[in-house]
């Protein structure tokens, strides 16, 4: 499949399948779990649901009762909408080589966006590099998915990675709290902790998806080389040997484990996925972890 038609019909079919799976998983949970934690009186009418004993009878829609002689509650926007923000790393490190991480992350964003839109959540996309590089404003409804695709297809790559400044800018510009899904390789010279802390401190619900390419852990070149950082341009002369590659692999594992441990420590969902893994499998893992199926 070429890069140009990554959001083609077969992709949509797969998204539909994932949505059905998510629905199956969601039906197993209590509907009350879906209640927003944000209490408030939203004014915008969103939907109806049947009255259950214990519900606030002030929200009973009496006009509908007159018509149907059944009790229904009015649901207001504030109570139902979940804002899902996808923070997509567009830095050069994501575009290295065949840009496999970049394309993979976009497919994941598209898939999760579809799930969210199908669940009538509000989905927004914020690409970033060293700062936010635009915004797809939160939108709702399944039919918006094509706008999502279009937005993703037109994204341009950025330069260096700046997680902290990007996320700090994001939280300062976003009033509506919600789920913040960060898709990145997290290769930031300044680290990721401050960035993720920004989300936590501002009451966002961070979800971390670390994307990596297995080929980066097993380079084909050996011998004397000059290493060049794709984002900073820093160089390093070295001699690649099998032993060195082994050590690098161990170092990467340690790095990823630290990220995972940090997320776990702060009750953040985290996923680590190689681009070689089918994005469907990642989505299902997300579902099993409880994300997007509340």
């Amino acid at each position: 499949m070429s890069r140009d038609d990554q959001f083609d019909e077969s992709f949509l079919q797969r998204l539909e399948y994932l949505y059905l799976v998510s629905q199956k998983m969601a039906n197993r949970r209590l509907r009350a779990n879906r209640d927003s934690e944000i209490a408030g009186s939203g004014m915008e009418f969103a939907d109806h649901r049947e009255y259950s004993p214990g519900d606030d009878f002030r929200n009973i829609d009496w006009k509908l009762y007159a018509r149907t002689e059944k009790l229904f509650l009015k649901l207001f926007e504030e109570e139902q909408d979940l804002y899902i923000y996808f923070l997509l790393d567009c830095s050069r490190s994501m575009h290295l080589g065949e840009s496999s991480k970049w394309w993979y992350a976009k497919r994941v964003v598209a898939a999760l966006s579809y799930i969210g839109l199908s669940n009538l959540d509000r989905v927004g996309i914020i690409p970033f590099a060293d700062k936010p590089l635009g915004r797809f404003p939160p939108t709702r409804g399944r039919n918006q998915i094509f706008r999502v695709f279009e937005f993703l297809e037109n994204l341009e790559p950025g330069e260096a990675t700046g997680l902290e400044p990007s996320l700090r800018t994001f939280v300062s510009q976003t009033n509506r709290k919600g789920m913040a899904v960060v898709l990145s390789d997290f290769f930031d010279p300044d680290g990721y902790r401050d960035a993720l802390d920004q989300l936590r401190y501002h009451k966002f619900d961070p979800v971390v998806i670390q994307v990596y390419d297995r080929r980066e852990l097993d380079p084909s070149v050996t011998g004397d080389i000059e290493l060049v950082d794709a984002e900073t341009g820093d160089t390093q002369t070295m001699t690649v040997t099998p032993r060195l590659i082994r050590q690098y692999r161990e170092r990467f594992e340690a790095f990823s484990d630290k990220l995972e441990a940090y997320c776990k420590k702060h009750q953040m969902l985290s996923f680590r996925t190689p681009v070689q893994e089918a994005f469907d499998d990642l989505i299902l893992r997300v579902f099993r972890a409880g994300g997007f199926v509340d």
């Binding site: 080389i225 950082d229 984002e231 050590q247 170092r251």
Partner: protein
């Protein structure tokens, strides 16, 4: 160390340039491949841990690769110089290889080879392997004479082919000729070396000709063979009896060089059939001669084969255990008797079983009747002698006889007899009574065989390849017919005129040049069939063919009209003693390996080492040790 390849200056210049280029390449090689990574921070962390232990190795690695390349250039330059050990003499040698192919070299007392000659050939090939580019080598053989097989050539392969075609002969050895040849060939040449491959058998004990070669010539003797005994046939003859040409006797001489008495079997073979075997006992270092009479076996080609039967005596040279002899064919001469009848004469002639006699009356005589006859006997008639026919005249008279007759002599007496003449073999004229004899005036070609005061009574004439004889008196007018001498005289006339000395064909000696008469006036060349079967032709000079035979056995010479068989036996009996002797000056280098010009080719090892280095470089490159 000495260098005989490219000049040192050239190699140094070329190697220096190559090293400079290699070094420049290595300096340029510092440009590394650029590899982009998403985040070099992790790499930096890994490298930080290894920095201290990798710096030195990294520098050494680069140096190692450069050193291997420099070492390769050095080895290639070393190989180009073609280094040799200091003591090795390599410049412009003239090497003369001399192979002994005399009869003693056919001895089989060498281990690993069939004969001494094969051992010598193998050693000669070993020497050829060491011939260098600047050397010149020549091949010659020697036996009774020295025969060069090549000129001085620089390519040993031009010598290998003739060397392979050499064969041992049945001739003796002339060491003086060998020494003369060495001196003449190598005098004045640079670095002359004469290498003699010989057993030295038969070398003169009173002064070795090879001990005093011209100055500067190095003589090396590769001796072959071991001390041991040998038995050989040194003489073998056969001859027909004069009185019975169908019968013959044999003579054999056998010699031994064993230190103990040995018994041998001497087998006699006629025309390929075994006819007899005689057991002989040979004393230590001695010889035995035997006559074997009355063989009375048909055959013209006779052979004698010798075999040592004593258990612990090993015959060192079986090649001299064969000898050959030829009996000339016996022909029945045709005699035309011109007579009115003479019983005494006819009876005497008939006593010879080897003759065919025809009689014709004098009145019926015509010269054409002599065609087909070998001898014409005129009894009581004296016509002119027929052309190309031998003739005997009994009591010639008149002017038509071939002799000049001047009267007669009454009761002549005999006072002179030429006993050496073949007509007089076993003939005695003691107290011969003769009634009357013609007085023959002998001519310039006449020889008086029997004479008296009044003149010759028996005259013989040989001229223009014809024999004529005249008995001056009529036998019937004497008591000669009553004597044994009369038929004996007739025998002798037939022998002398028709059979010649067909009793005996002496074997020829190998190594000699034989002159063989072939009476064929129409032939200008003759074909020669030697024992080895390789026939060839030789020109005739005055009907004589000149042949040099090297091998014992039967030879056959033939023209379209004439054939002559002969036998050849060992010409030099000194070859029977096969005891090896050292030739040349008494030198201390008895070690044969010192004679071989061993070539230590260091350049080959240098190239091998260079190849190994290249393999190491390739392997280390692909392992990314040095890049």
């Amino acid at each position: 160390m000495q260098f005989i390849g490219a000049s040192l200056q050239t190699v140094l210049i070329v190697a220096g340039l190559a090293a400079a280029v290699i070094t420049a390449f290595y300096l340029l090689k510092l440009r590394r491949r650029r590899v982009e990574v998403p985040f070099h921070g992790l790499w930096a962390e890994v490298l930080a841990d290894q920095r201290s232990e990798r710096d030195l190795w990294r520098r050494l690695r680069r140096l190692l690769s450069w050193l291997i390349q420099i070492a390769l250039i050095a080895l290639l330059g070393f190989a180009l110089l073609d280094p040799r050990p200091p003591g090795e003499a390599i410049e412009g040698r003239h090497v003369l290889l001399l192979i002994d192919r005399s009869a003693s070299m056919g001895a089989t007392d060498v281990t690993g080879e069939t004969t001494r000659f094969e051992a010598a050939r193998r050693r000669a090939r070993d020497v050829l392997e060491t011939i260098g580019a600047d050397d010149r080598v020549m091949l010659a053989t020697f036996d009774r004479q020295v025969s060069p097989k090549t000129t001085f050539v620089s390519d040993p392969s031009l010598v290998s082919e003739p060397l392979s075609q050499l064969a041992v002969t049945d001739t003796g050895t002339d060491y003086q000729a060998l020494a003369d040849f060495i001196g003449d060939t190598l005098r004045g040449r640079s670095e002359p070396h004469a290498i003699v491959f010989s057993d030295g058998a038969g070398a003169p004990t009173d002064g070795d000709p090879l001990a005093s070669l011209p100055d500067g010539i190095s003589l090396h003797h590769f001796d072959v063979g071991a001390d041991g005994g040998n038995a050989a046939i040194t003489a073998f003859n056969a001859r027909r009896y004069p009185s019975n040409k169908l019968d013959y006797e044999l003579y054999a001489e056998v010699r031994s060089t064993f230190e103990q008495p040995v018994e041998v079997d001497l087998q006699l073979i006629a025309d390929g059939r075994e006819v007899d075997t005689k057991r002989l006992e040979l004393p230590p270092g001695g010889e035995v001669r035997r006559f074997f009479p009355s063989q009375a076996v048909s055959g013209t080609r006779l052979e004698a084969h010798l075999e040592v039967v004593t258990a612990d005596a090993i015959d060192g040279s079986p090649r001299d255990n064969r000898a050959f002899a030829v009996l000339p064919e016996v022909e029945s001469p045709q005699i035309l008797l011109v007579t009115d009848g003479n019983l005494y004469l006819e009876g005497a002639l008939l006593l010879n079983p080897n003759t065919d006699i025809e009689t014709v009356a004098p009145d019926d005589w015509r010269p054409e009747l002599a065609d087909g006859a070998d001898i014409v006997i005129f009894d009581g008639t004296s016509p002119p002698a027929p052309e190309s026919v031998d003739a005997l005249y009994l009591a010639p008279t008149g002017d038509t006889s071939p002799w000049t007759i001047r009267g007669e002599t009454e009761a002549p007496v005999i006072d002179s007899i030429d006993r050496n003449h073949p007509l007089m073999r076993w003939v005695h004229f003691r107290d011969l009574n003769i009634g009357v004899a013609s007085r023959i005036i002998p001519g310039p070609a006449d020889r008086a065989v029997v004479s008296g005061p009044a003149g010759p009574l028996l005259v013989a004439r040989e001229r223009d390849n014809r024999q004529l004889a005249a008995l001056a008196f009529d036998p019937a007018a004497s008591d000669l017919p009553l004597r044994v001498a009369f038929p004996m005289l007739m025998f002798n006339v037939v022998d002398w005129m028709a059979l010649g000395d067909a009793r005996y064909e002496a074997p020829r000696e190998t190594g000699e040049t034989w002159s063989v008469r072939l009476d064929d006036p129409t032939a200008s060349e003759a074909s020669v069939s030697p024992p080895d079967g390789d026939d060839y032709t030789t020109p005739l000079t005055d009907r004589i063919a000149y042949v040099r035979g090297l091998d014992t056995g039967f030879y056959s010479l033939a023209t379209p009209n004439v054939q002559h068989d002969l036998a050849a036996n060992l010409g030099d009996v000194r070859e029977v003693d096969i005891t090896p002797h050292k030739l040349g000056p008494d030198v201390s280098d008895d070690d044969d390996t010192s004679v071989l010009f061993e070539r230590r080719k260091y350049w080959q090892w240098a190239l091998i080492l260079a190849g190994l280095l290249m393999a190491l470089e390739w392997w280390s490159y692909h392992r990314r040790w040095t890049v």
